[in-house]
Amino acid sequence: MGMNRRDFLTLAAGAGAVATLPAPAIAKESETRVLRFVPQANLPNLDPVWGTQYVVRNASLLVYDTLFGLSSNLEPKPQMCAGYETSADGRVWTFRLRDGLYFHDKEPVRSVDVVASLKRWMARDAMGQVLKDRLDALEVVNDKQFRVQLQKPFPKLLLALAKPMPNIAVVMPERIANSDPFKQVAEYIGSGPMRFRRDEWVPGSRAVFERFSDYVPREETGDWLAGGKRMELDRIEWQVIPDAATAAAALQSGEVDWWETPIADLVPLLRANGKLRVEIADNLGNIGILRFNHLYPPFNDVRVRRAVAMVVSQDDYMHAVVGSDDALWRPMPSIFTPGTPLYTEAGGEILKGPRHWEEAKRLLAEAGYNGEKIVMLVATDIGITKGQSDVTADLLKRLGMNVDYVATDWGTVGARRAKQDPPSAGGWHIFHTWLAGLDCTTPATNIALRANGRKAWFGWPSSELIQTLIGQWYDAPDLAAERWVAADLNKAAMDFLPYIPTGFFLAYQAWRNNVSGIVKAPFPVFWGVRKQ
């Protein structure tokens, strides 16, 4: 049987029609169940106990579950736990796991998994280490219950278990959690609402999460990490797009649905596009900091640190960080995040009002500064650190200081700032970075505040008063008591200056109009997000 050109075309068109007619409906249906998300950075691994990058934390919140979850009013609420009982003296806590918890390998979650996971977490996390120091025993009662016995009460126990600040207390299967906390786990198996598709993972490019069909969300409404984590999506594809202009173009063309961190420069362009929404990502924002090395002159002398603080203009710093959009920043003479329960400006006068240049110069001379080189590490590949560093370099020069501006990349700054050698022998005097606002909601999670000398965060400040006050906060029984301690702590910090806060700033997130349910949070919250 022969076939002429017309027959062939008719058949081809018919076949095409048959093949394509029902397809759009099916394609549309499946398309709305897949969300394409551009994360803030490449996902290098999925071990939130071993790796502390925020991007690791954000992905881990999808895959792993926690015993307690932080709500948007910063309160720990039960998540994997059904409930708990506390002894009258506050030294024995018995926790009960809720029903229906399964790992992604279909094994049930048992107390033995929880205990092993907590032990691994305690070896790495600062709050975990405080808990470990107070621990008498951490033991399995039965498959559903475990017990924490303490030498002394630890009122912040639930916060420690709920906090999403790295390192987070995620629950892994016992066989995985029993590994060395200083080595990355070999398998990424959690019990969260999405499972990680390791077979589709291309580090630096793509990470895929698929809905875990056996996940049973809590009954309550989802609120950050608390309540029911109800997934309206079957698949979330993280697409790493390192170039901001490319990410903006991909969002505009509909190749991606949600961009976590659009840069401020591109926001007007995105806002002009009627198919996109651009909003503040997180009301807790970020806090810029100027960190001193407290081990060596001249910044081991509090008078020199105060001289710098007297001339710091947070206005200048924030304009260097966020540009001319004044809605994106506010001053903060405090170590706590503005708008959160512990925020106080007590003792913050040194950062307020007119700047005192003459007094600062006099203080500098009194401290004996005589033109020695000030080694400032500047990560020029990160706009926030570069902007702050430029302001500081100018400020120090105007104060009469001799600045050695070491322009390098963040990888080098990360390594060099860990060196406790003298600045003339490969060490440093100053570097800039920023802290997530969420981390500065409590003294325990603000790493830059710790002042336990050479065991403290880079810069190694040493202040018994600050350490005592942090300890008092741990023992504060309620919010009122915490606020008293916070006021004292702020005064102590503004007097001793372990670091100088350079201002509070916000960032945007952007998504396409057909996506709904995106909330403001310090991390992307995917449950409740829908795509039409």
């Binding site: 490449n42 790796g51 490019s205 797009i241 990349d409 990888g411 390594a415 860990a418 065991k455």
Partner: protein
């Protein structure tokens, strides 16, 4: 010939050994510490030291180097510090996009640049020659990322003909594969086209002044036959050399192009690894690039004999 190929392959061994030593030494003395990056902002110096020890980064240079070489001799490029994945697996994931981009760029460049160069030489001094040379200067002097952004803006954002970014494997269909690579290939090819076109023109001008070309014309052969059959073959040796040397340009350009178009290739893998100080990945990728470069040079040397029978090894 086979003896020559064998000898050349054998000589790559000391070259690769020197490359290995250089790469390892440079990374050893370069500032940066993957342990500090892994540990993150929360870490204390003690924790960083613990991680450094667990990664074996606190061992002496020689011990680490010998260990690394020994594993390479066994075919093991090591494991990424950050992802815990074998370096060979990460390279295998990334090699297809980079190879596809480079091959397509090479094809486009040769197909576009050689006729351009031949025409410029044939029409020397005319407006055609000048236009081609102006385009070549533009190709040389416009940064790769500028070409990339302009092409993406016009063809992806404004006209919606092609995607802005990403990569589709060949296994998922030829057209989707090509759609993702057209803009990057033109972006990366800009400088390469300019280079080949200029060399082709110069080489052709030299050949076109030879007696045998005049003889061919006198015999009444057609314009195209003289240019492309008689002249071009004799001008091919320097062109082939430049195409071979240009592979290094392509490797360099691929890093930028892959970033602009978010292609998950070896270029981006290298940049990410350098920024994080993921030593095993950097070492593996640089070794691979070096080997590829040595191999391309060998192929170019062998091609000389095809284009010019007088060359014998």
């Amino acid at each position: 010939m086979l003896g020559y190929v064998f000898r050349r392959i054998v000589t790559t061994i000391p070259v690769m050994a020197v490359v290995a030593l250089l790469v390892f030494s440079l990374l050893y003395i370069a500032p940066g510490d993957p342990a500090a990056v892994i540990a993150g902002d929360q870490a204390s110096p003690e924790q960083i030291a613990h991680i450094r020890a667990s990664l074996g980064l606190d061992r002496p240079f020689l011990v680490r180097f010998v260990d690394w070489v020994w594993r390479i001799l066994q075919g093991d490029l090591g494991t990424s510090i950050f992802t815990n994945l074998p370096v060979s697996h990460m390279i295998a994931q990334r090699i297809e996009p980079t190879l596809s981009l480079m091959v397509l760029t090479l094809l486009l460049s040769v197909v576009i640049a050689i006729p351009m160069g031949v025409m410029a030489a044939a029409k020397q001094g005319t407006w055609i020659d000048r236009v081609i040379m102006v385009l070549a200067v533009l190709g040389f002097s416009t940064p790769v990322f500028v070409i990339g952004y302009v092409l993406a803006y016009v063809f992806a954002l404004q006209l919606s003909w092609l995607p802005v970014q990403g990569y589709t494997p060949l296994a998922d269909g030829f057209w989707p594969f090509l759609q993702n690579l057209i803009l990057p290939a033109f972006t990366l090819g800009g400088i390469y086209i300019a280079l080949i076109a200029r060399i082709t023109r110069t080489s052709m001008l030299e050949v076109l002044s030879q007696d045998y070309v005049r003889t061919a014309r006198a015999k009444g052969l057609g314009f195209g036959t003289v240019l492309f059959v008689h002249a071009l073959k004799n001008a091919a040796v320097p062109i082939t050399t430049v195409i071979g040397l240009g592979v290094a340009l392509l490797i360099g350009g691929a890093v930028v192009t892959e970033s602009v178009f978010a292609i998950p290739g070896l270029g981006r893998l290298t940049v990410d690894a350098i920024l994080r100080r993921d030593y095993p990945v950097i070492q593996g990728v640089v070794l691979l690039f070096s080997f590829a470069y040595v191999l391309v040079n060998l192929i170019v040397d062998l091609l000389y004999t095809v284009f010019d029978p007088r060359i014998r090894y």
